[in-house]
Symmetry: C2
Subunit: 220 residues, 2 copies
DNA sequence: GCGTACATATCGAGC
DNA sequence: GCTCGATGTGTACGC
């Protein structure tokens, strides 16, 4: 990893055109071939960048040219270098995550009764021609229910569930299938659209589900 | 901006939980208060971060604690510092972009005739209950047309236009409303879906539209 | 390699 | 402050 602090101007020509007037910035060159140009704000997002794989050519006139396979170009005109250091970092062991959609799915599948008394799981990741349905289950009356789980429930998720329901309802062995849109948080517009389509919305509490799960584990 | 190269392990407890085993990484501390932890790959995205506003407290035992208002925490256990430098960057003049959706919409609205002779603009950002339609216009026969504009035309955009059409066609003053999906580039799958739904696809040439606009400006 | 789905997305505009 | 849509979204995983 190479860190350069330099006064520079930058031009990007690729999926759009963009220009950065001259100023002092951080140029971050990673071992994976990526180059990014950071100001002292905007959280972690660089002002401009080129994703790997790409090639950096440092001209003798201070003009750095970064090119990728698609012909996109990042041209950095370096006027003055204030710092330049390189560091050997090695391969990173990587991030271990907990609390994402997959966990919500596991927890809800294991405690499907939170959706209603007498409900039972058919299976997780129920396969269809257009992809797996997160959870397929049966309500107390034996009716089929498809559940789409999201961490944050937005319109896209409702569309996704709608596509699954259209398909599942073509199967005479399953139909009629109704839908439940379950998320830790559901946006108003998504709720409106779901309701308009006869889809029920359920808000999940990750900590509560985990708590229930812990209780279950203590019981057995 | 402060740059630290350090052997460290990291724990994040917030919207999810995450852990990074000990390794050598870049710690990037920006003037806006953000902290990010970078490995030597993954392009510009850090392994872990805290967005501003947040506060960094450097303990004497090498334990750095970053906290934000929401109570999320990033705990960095620094085992060895290999580099530590600070740099004054000043305020960045910022990025100038060109060629995004807003420009396409302006250009097309101003030159609605490219969609067909005798067409006229009703208005840009025509409001509906589920959000504004990019362009509403009338064709030569006085029929209403809703136009959805995207830089890159994908399935999501077709779904979005479909929702608008469903809603607009419930309005007896407007119905029947047909749809046009306009983009610089339309993915094959999006084109198939649009066609299946009776939506016309139009490919926009940004440079050509800008050229037409320039001609218009020269004429008046 | 393309397409799909997820993400601590980030960011800016409008309300 | 919140919501919503755009993003050069990035990234992993499937086929």
């Amino acid at each position: 990893m190479r860190l350069v602090i330099a006064r520079c101007s930058v031009d990007y020509a690729g999926r759009l055109s963009a220009h950065l007037p001259s100023a002092t910035r951080l140029l971050l060159i990673k071992a994976d071939g990526s180059v990014s140009v950071h100001a002292d704000d905007r959280a972690y997002k660089p002002l401009n960048w080129m994703s790997p794989p790409c090639a950096l050519k440092e001209g003798e006139d201070g003009i750095w040219t970064v090119t990728n396979k698609g012909g996109e170009q990042l041209i950095i005109t370096v006027e003055e270098i204030l710092h330049d250091s390189s560091h050997e970092l090695g391969v990173d062991p990587g991030l271990i995550k907990d609390g994402v959609e997959a966990h919500l799915q596991e927890l809800l599948a294991d405690r499907i009764e939170v959706l209603g008394e007498g409900w039972s799981l058919v299976r997780r990741e129920y396969p269809t021609a257009i992809g797996p349905v997160d959870i397929l289950c049966r309500d107390a009356g034996g009716g089929t229910v498809a559940v789409e789980i999201k961490r944050r429930g937005e319109i896209d998720g409702v569309e996704q569930l709608t596509r699954y329901l259209d398909l599942l309802n073509r199967d005479p062995l399953l139909a009629p299938v109704r839908g439940i849109f379950a998320a830790q948080e559901i946006k108003p517009q998504a709720r409106v659209l779901a309701t308009d389509r006869g889809i029920d919305c359920v808000t999940l509490d990750y900590d509560a589900l985990r708590g229930i799960e812990d209780q279950k584990l203590r019981l057995f």
